[in-house]
């Protein structure tokens, strides 16, 4: 068993800590980036679809337990998001998607899927305008998460110049 596979579960704790304490300070009109999802997409592309799906379930379940959300809702959403991100993890595609701005597009796709599934299991009242709900609950947080994910692309590049 390679040591690198233990990194994502260890990283989970600091990521959730930042998500719950610091991220609320930079939220805009109650919309906040999802750091857990960015980490999940990164590890799914880096380590493959099977690992991404499993770690997605683990991340989701841990988040549900810690935050008091409906247990299973984040787990389901992040499992499918991890599985989707895994499609971009083939050996030939890994470099293309991991350290280029294409990573942000993968984050956008996975974030929309994650938000849609999570919102669906939150039983949104469909008496309200569905397009507005879709925009507020899926598109806006996904866009913010995508903008935040640019850091993942920029930081390793800078490091490589040092």
């Amino acid at each position: 068993m390679k040591l690198k596979y233990f990194i994502p579960p260890i990283i989970l704790i600091p990521v959730i800590l930042v998500q719950l304490t610091i991220i609320p300070l930079i939220s805009i009109e109650e919309v906040a980036p999802d750091l857990l999802l960015i980490a999940l997409v990164y590890f799914s592309i880096a380590y493959g679809q099977l690992y991404g799906t499993t770690i997605g379930a683990f991340y989701g379940l841990a988040f549900d337990l810690i935050t008091g959300s409906l247990i299973g809702s984040n787990m389901l959403a992040k499992t499918v998001a991890g599985f989707t991100a895994g499609y971009f993890s083939a050996d030939t595609r890994r470099d293309k998607y991991l350290y280029t701005y294409a990573f942000c597009l993968v984050v956008l796709l996975c974030s929309i899927i994650n938000s849609l599934i999570f919102s669906f299991f939150s039983v949104i009242d469909f008496n309200t305008n569905f397009i507005v709900v879709l925009f507020n609950h899926s598109i806006l947080p996904s866009i913010y998460t995508t903008i935040f994910s640019i850091l993942v692309v920029i930081v390793p590049h800078r490091r490589s110049y040092i």
Binding site: I16, G68, S73, V80
Partner: protein, 277 residues
């Protein structure tokens, strides 16, 4: 057979794992009220909240100056209100003595600090630094000086998770303070609404909404919000009353837990009523 299974696993293992994990998720979704699941949740968030408190306090110090200014303003307003209330209290006490009523105005409040929060727009929760050891139990209302924030959902020894008003799983019985009409308040994912209100009932823009005495969760009136819009339902018979909450649950930092849970005797009476043939 083994070869077939091996072939299947080699070619479809990602899908097999996905299906298994999705099934586990669905099973867990149905087990949310299981006492064992609740226990695991209490242990997990209790352990995690210890670390969260330290980090939250660290960042929170930068906001103390702003908060102090707000508190000074609130303090001045409260001082004026107390003066007015003191006069009314003396009169009320005399009238109660005359009528032979018991004094029910003393309610136990436990001050608490929010140590972490989720910014979910559908399942918004806050974690607070008071738990079972401080006498906090599920079902107790959480409030601040402006009004209701939410209701305690889970507790560990030192911490508790409260579902805020912006959580679709929190449904409250509320009433219009002016017209005394009861209704069910929910968070629909976008706004707070009182649902299924017949068009003939008296609701007006600006009416104050408080929790109702008939509520099985909060049996005393706590301010919730004000009516902001009356939206006609598509059926044409009912209205949805949009309510703007007094408390911004996304920025609340200091709260009070009202150590009050629904009277068991009252609950038993209601159950007996339903048990009647």
């Amino acid at each position: 057979m083994f070869k077939l299974l091996s072939y299947f696993w080699d070619n479809f293992k990602e899908y097999v794992v996905l299906v298994i994990l999705v099934i586990i998720s669905f099973i867990l979704l149905t087990q949310n009220n299981n006492p064992q699941v609740q226990k695991v949740r209490a242990v997990t968030f209790g352990s995690f909240a210890v670390v969260t408190t330290v980090i939250y306090d660290l960042f929170n110090t930068t906001q103390i100056k702003r908060e102090n200014k707000e508190l000074r303003e609130v303090n001045a307003e409260l001082m004026l209100q107390i003066s007015a209330l003191r006069e009314k209290g003396i009169l009320n006490s005399k009238l109660k003595d005359l009528a032979g009523f018991k004094d029910t105005s003393t309610l136990p409040l436990v001050p608490a600090t929010v140590v972490s929060r989720t910014l979910s727009q559908t399942q918004n929760t806050i974690t607070i630094n008071k738990g079972i050891d401080d006498g906090v139990k599920p079902g107790m209302p959480v409030m601040n000086h402006l009004g209701l924030v939410g209701v305690i959902h889970s507790t560990s020894e030192d911490f508790a998770i409260a579902r805020t008003l912006k959580n679709i799983d929190l449904k409250l019985t509320v009433k219009n303070e002016r017209s005394r009409i009861d209704g069910i308040l929910i968070w629909d994912g976008d706004k707070l609404v009182i649902i299924n209100v017949p068009k003939t009932l008296d609701f007006e823009k600006g009416d104050r909404i408080v929790t109702s005495e008939v509520s099985s969760i909060i049996p005393i009136p706590i301010p919730v919000g004000a009516v902001s819009e009356i939206i006609p339902e598509r059926t044409g018979l009912l209205n949805r009353i949009s309510v703007t909450p007094f408390v911004d649950v996304f920025s609340v930092e200091h709260v009070f837990i009202l150590q009050l849970v629904q009277s068991i005797q009252k609950k038993e009476l209601e159950l007996n009523f339903y048990k009647m043939p």
